[in-house]
């Protein structure tokens, strides 16, 4: 078994005429927390969807656990996905099922566990995210932050080898934020898995991750441990970590100069 779980090589991907990825390469180790950070709209969610095989790259390859995601048959891809957990930015809970049934869903689909065993496991996972008391509620009765925690419980239901977190921290109050941050790192250590965290939240993400990749304009700008990045000489990294308004990181979506637009 190699130490690299996800191997991305020369990835190209476009939406319409807009290039989202332009030759991105990245290695994600089998163990530990890898953070992927970058300005809003650079394609972090898109990258996770490419890794999960929901989108197909124009060029380049993505290997997960030695398998080329985009050359697998549907059956093989589904087998692989059972070993991947993904936490969507929106939660993506099934709205016609209760919280309990949502977490039980992957267990019912993919295992033949007894009802008692399913109940045991679901309550355990819900307890881990602090929502055991909400088991009988419907998704429409939850707040955004609570939905995301239920979705996390669901993502870990099958004890996957990797979990992809898309913005797990947005919409959390300071307490559940703290709990979530330590939960992600505890889960990672306890299960000895690969966690990929996509986030804007610089201090908390840097505090738990082992490796960080900054992406911008379709490429990796800089990678390394949080320590090296904090002391990085790169203007770009410095600006992103400190949230300065001025610097090489563009705040604006690509556009014509404002003068041309306003006085057309």
């Amino acid at each position: 078994m190699s130490d690299i779980l996800v191997k991305i090589r020369d990835l190209h991907f476009s939406r319409g005429n807009r290039k989202i990825f332009d030759g991105l390469s990245m290695d994600i180790p089998r163990q530990g927390i890898t953070a992927i950070m970058g300005p809003s709209g650079t394609g972090k969610t898109t990258l996770l969807k490419l890794i999960g095989g929901q989108l197909t790259p124009d060029q380049g390859s993505i290997e997960v656990d030695g398998l080329n995601v985009h050359q697998l048959s549907t059956g093989k891809l589904f087998d692989l996905r059972q070993r991947m957990g993904m936490l969507f930015q929106s939660g993506a809970l099934l709205t016609d099922l209760s919280v309990f049934e949502n977490v039980a869903y992957p267990l019912r689909e993919h295992t033949k566990l007894s009802e008692a065993m399913i109940r045991y496991m679901v309550l355990l996972k819900l307890n881990a995210v602090g929502l055991r008391g909400a088991a009988e509620m419907m998704p429409s009765e939850l707040s955004g932050g609570m939905s995301r925690r239920v979705a996390l419980a669901r993502a870990i239901a099958l004890d996957p080898m990797m979990i992809m977190y898309d913005e797990p921290f947005t919409g959390q109050d300071p307490i559940s934020m703290g709990v979530l941050v330590s939960l992600i790192s505890e889960l990672n250590n306890a299960l000895n898995i690969c966690s990929i965290v996509v986030s804007h939240d610089v201090p908390d993400t840097l505090s738990i991750s082992d490796t960080v990749h900054f992406i911008s304009a379709g490429k990796v700008v800089e990678s390394g441990s949080p320590e090296t990045l904090r002391n990085s000489q790169s203007e770009w990294t410095h600006q992103f970590i400190h949230g300065d308004a001025d610097g090489p990181v563009p705040f604006h979506f690509p556009a014509d100069p404002i003068k041309d637009d306003l006085y057309r």
Partner: protein, 272 residues
Amino acid sequence: MIFALKGKSLFNSLIDRIQHVGAATIHSFQRLGHASVFLLEVIASCTSLLTRPLLLVKQLHSVGVQTLIIIVVAGLFVGMVMALQSYYALIDFGAEDSVGVMVALSLMRELGPVITALLFAGRAGSALTAEIGLMKATEQLSGMEMMAVNPMQRIVAPRFLAGVISMPLLATIFSAVGIIGAYLVAVELLGLDSGAFWSQPQNKVDLYLDLYNGIIKSLVFGIVATWIAVFEGYDCIPTSEGLGQATTRTVVHSSLAILFLDFVLTALMFTK
């Protein structure tokens, strides 16, 4: 000079319009192709329901049973109105005893399948599109895919099959209730002889030609209406606007398709 400019812009706008028509045509055919591939996938996915019949039962309830009430009420009134109208028309010829057979034949051959299908598209079809489209917009379908669950099998197939099974049953109920409505008006209200009302349909309605053909029609309408509904939902642009447009398209396209197919099927079935 001005004339030349005008001529040029006229020419350009003409070209623009032709291009527009061409693009729209290509787009329509592409969507038709998409929809056909989608239909094959749905049909292939239906086999997975053998292991999960409960999913189908649940959808039969929400697609079929919940449409029942509007079908029964509409059937009753259509039957009653038909009895009135045919009574007034036939009595001039002393043929008012034929009210029963006239209503029964019109309902079984045409009105039952067609009106049921139109109501079905408006009630169940639009709901299917909205439901599936909203699941897409809220990433529930993507979420299922990432849980290694195929939404074609768990979401689309049970809804499609439920629609296809429900339509012939609903159309049959529509016709039956319509005939009862006609009986109420003709016999109870207008005082027609009950024996005459029932005996003529018994003699003149043909099991194959009338009943079976009506059921085949309603089956075809069911397949088409449900196919359009689930496709529009699955294929919609996942925004509130896109969803609204998809729901409208479901109702408009299925209604037109039903009326067109009714003509084709009638022409094929009832040639003498």
